[in-house]
Symmetry: C2
Subunit: 463 residues, 2 copies
């Protein structure tokens, strides 16, 4: 997998080469021979003897980038200069900026937005706190909160290292739903402390998006915040994933002509995402599911499972036949695989044991449970969480529109009905004429995904 060059490993190489009419084509062909994909060529200096070229190319990974640079160095007469990494360049100084909506040009402007004028606004809100939704950023601002304990597939990397993800998330909130989102990366992984902190900073926000907080703490944190705050609390890893997964499954089932009530579903991963996906799929009609974690199939006989935990709930709600064994054992004859676990757990042969017209959602980030190209050898529909393959089960299809709907409605709670409505709106974004095995979810750049999800949520929240 990942042997395709990807823009995330894009580098720009400055080179000097002898001036001749094949100078550039020689360089680009070397890169292509080495497996790189040239995406930009900029000759920024040329004289009778030398040309200076900035070559940008996508590589498959960091080692590959190094190999390409080394092969360029071997060309006679070529001098390799600075090599810069596009991903790192893009991140310099961070990805967000906070701007004033109003110009501050003169004393009049100052008097209006700061003292003394602002005092009248403060007094109005002190008199009627609901005016804060009208006269402050609270109206359109949410917090993206993490403790850095379960970041992407990287694990417990802490709050600082999690910040680039939260910034990216905030950028997506703006891009897709015009929501002002600010990253809150907490220097604590204590449940009580997290609950206390989020409550303490809540006045500024109209919603809380929890992100990349590990299970089982995330369940308690979400439940307590929902009970104690008057603004909606959404754990994207749970509910965002669940919405998009259900939307994709609805459409995938149409492609293969099966019904959710009838299929046998196998899930890998019993963490936050898995539990939430399972709950929403059950609410949407799923009846037969088996879940496996690192220790194998979850069943009521497993002694390591606390019956009051979320694993306990899974054990009770799934696997009525009390199957035991490994994930691979569970897969035999299954109609649907949903992976929300870890990279490279499966190979093509495992998929070959599934029922005909199998559906495979391998959603582990950044690397899926199975190489999608391998899965496609035997499955009818394959989806991953990656933006560089078809059928990206990407939460960005859900969370911006979902929060847009919540904010527009002034919602104080999140209900299962809202999640189901959002999933239906999302799957309906794929027109019957568009639906096929490679297009079960709309592109994240589909013109009105967020608006349609928002509308569905708004209609439930404000009937």
């Amino acid at each position: 997998m990942s042997m395709m060059p990807s823009v995330q490993y894009s580098i720009t190489i400055r080179l000097e080469a002898p001036a001749k009419n094949t100078a550039v084509s020689e360089l680009t062909s070397i890169i292509e021979l080495a497996g790189g994909s040239v995406t930009a060529v900029d000759v920024n200096h040329s004289d009778a003897e030398r040309v200076r070229v900035d070559l940008t190319c996508a590589c498959t990974n960091s080692d590959h980038a190094t190999e390409i640079v080394e092969s360029l160095k071997k060309i006679e007469g070529v001098v390799v200069g600075k090599v810069s990494d596009r991903t790192f360049l893009a991140h310099l100084g961070g990805k967000l900026t906070i701007e004033s909506k109003l110009p501050i040009r003169n004393r009049d402007d100052l008097s209006l937005i700061y003292t003394p004028g602002v005092a009248r606004i403060c007094e109005a809100i002190a008199k009627d706190p609901s005016d804060a939704r009208r006269l402050t950023i609270k109206r359109n601002t949410i917090a993206v909160v993490t403790d850095g304990s379960a970041v992407l597939g990287l694990g417990n990397i802490g709050p600082l290292a999690a910040l680039p993800v939260m910034e990216g998330k905030a950028a997506l909130f703006k891009r897709f739903a015009n929501i002002d989102a600010f990253p809150i990366c907490l220097d604590t992984q204590d449940t009580d402390e997290i609950v206390r902190t989020v409550k303490a900073i809540s006045p500024v926000f109209a919603g809380i998006n929890l992100e990349d907080i590990s299970a089982p703490r995330c369940f308690e944190i979400e439940a307590r915040l929902r009970a104690e705050l008057d603004i909606p609390v959404f754990h994207d890893d749970q509910h965002g994933t669940a919405i998009v997964c259900l939307a994709a499954l609805r459409n995938a089932l149409k492609v293969v002509g099966k019904k959710i009530e009838d299929v046998e579903l196998v899930m890998s991963g019993a963490g936050a995402a898995g539990t939430a996906v399972l709950k929403l799929l059950f609410a949407a009609g799923l009846r037969h599911a088996i879940v496996a974690d690192q220790k194998g199939i979850i069943h009521l006989g497993r002694k390591d499972i606390d019956p009051t935990s979320s694993l306990g709930w899974i054990a009770g709600a799934t696997n009525k036949a009390l199957k035991t064994g490994t994930l691979k054992d569970a897969l035999v004859g299954a109609d649907v695989f949903v992976g929300v676990s870890a990279a490279n757990l499966l190979v093509a042969e495992d998929i070959s044991t599934m029922a005909p017209n199998a559906i495979v959602f391998a959603l582990a980030n950044p690397n899926p449970e199975i190489d999608p190209a391998q899965a496609a050898k035997f499955a009818a529909v394959v989806a991953t969480g990656r933006s560089d393959f078809a059928n990206q089960i990407n939460n960005v299809l859900a969370f911006p529109g979902f929060f847009r709907g919540l904010l527009d409605a002034g919602a104080t709670q999140i209900t299962e009905e809202m999640l189901l409505a959002a999933a239906k709106a999302l799957s309906d974004c794929v027109e019957p004429s568009e639906l096929n095995a490679s297009y079960i979810v709309p592109s994240v750049f589909h013109a009105d995904v967020s608006q349609r999800v928002a509308e569905a949520v708004r209609n439930v929240a404000r009937p």
Copy 2:
């Protein structure tokens, strides 16, 4: 005081009037007769019989605005339509927006700033946390933190009602120093809880600006955060005020030809600002000061003062002659008055008892200790905190540049030397040729105030 029309009470009135060539001038003259100041006239419809006009005028206060509207209603043939308040209009939806610095146009952009590309940035920071200052918003982002306990002159109005001030502050940070500042309004006024919360959210920020937190809690909160965080913590009400006050006093003393070592200074207010101003003035050479609070002159004999409190420090550091009595008693013969207390404590006669060439800084917000017009009858130099009078002792002269310097230097602490350097740089922004009794501090729109303050701080922080 405040009988001048002010833009903070600016209203726009929609009217219809009979069409005649004096239609508009009749309307504007009515407003002017009523004491309003017309700032914009927009005839947005006209036909043979009627004109429709949007008239914008500044009033002295809300009642005055109502009076003006009523007097317009009395004109025969005039129909008054919607009246809108410019300050409230400006605040609709809040004053800040959070934007993505990078375009998100396609899957490549997504792969770069979000998954999977962002994982490489996370891994880099996990490996070397100092990279967060290079690859995230931490580099340029600060928190503007309040508990809403001492907002402007409005008192303990709580976190929600304080938000418009914090948003304004953040807007000023951007406007004057290109700093990304985010408002954190805390739903707690418990010292321990505030310290814990600010520590918990600190990873995202390169600095903390405490704002409008009441004394004496603000001292402990600042001290504990300074001790426990590795980023600078600045309480603007204390240190911002102190910097600008010292800068203004340096220049005011030049105007009247006195030396800081020789003057007798009387301060009204012994809260956070007063204490910090006093400390910085002492560090700059002041020797003789008397402070009065609501109970009168502070002296070592006062039984109500805890010797270990900040009031106790004031009692020990000031009033060597052990004077007793009221603020007015203290003022007799004094060279400098600094008010950091409450509105309308003094009248012109009180200032007449001061020494010749008296300096009056009446800094209470939004309304000063004495009407500056009254003070000017007897004082040689008068300054206030308001943006609608001359000599505005406005913290915005200090805090943006001060933080710019801290962030540029990657400072972890704030020192008195930095405060003194900032004050000197600020007073030096007024050239000798510009200095006069009405211009002891530069305009906040002076081209390079923030840069010069930043440079001074940077030079101390990174010698």
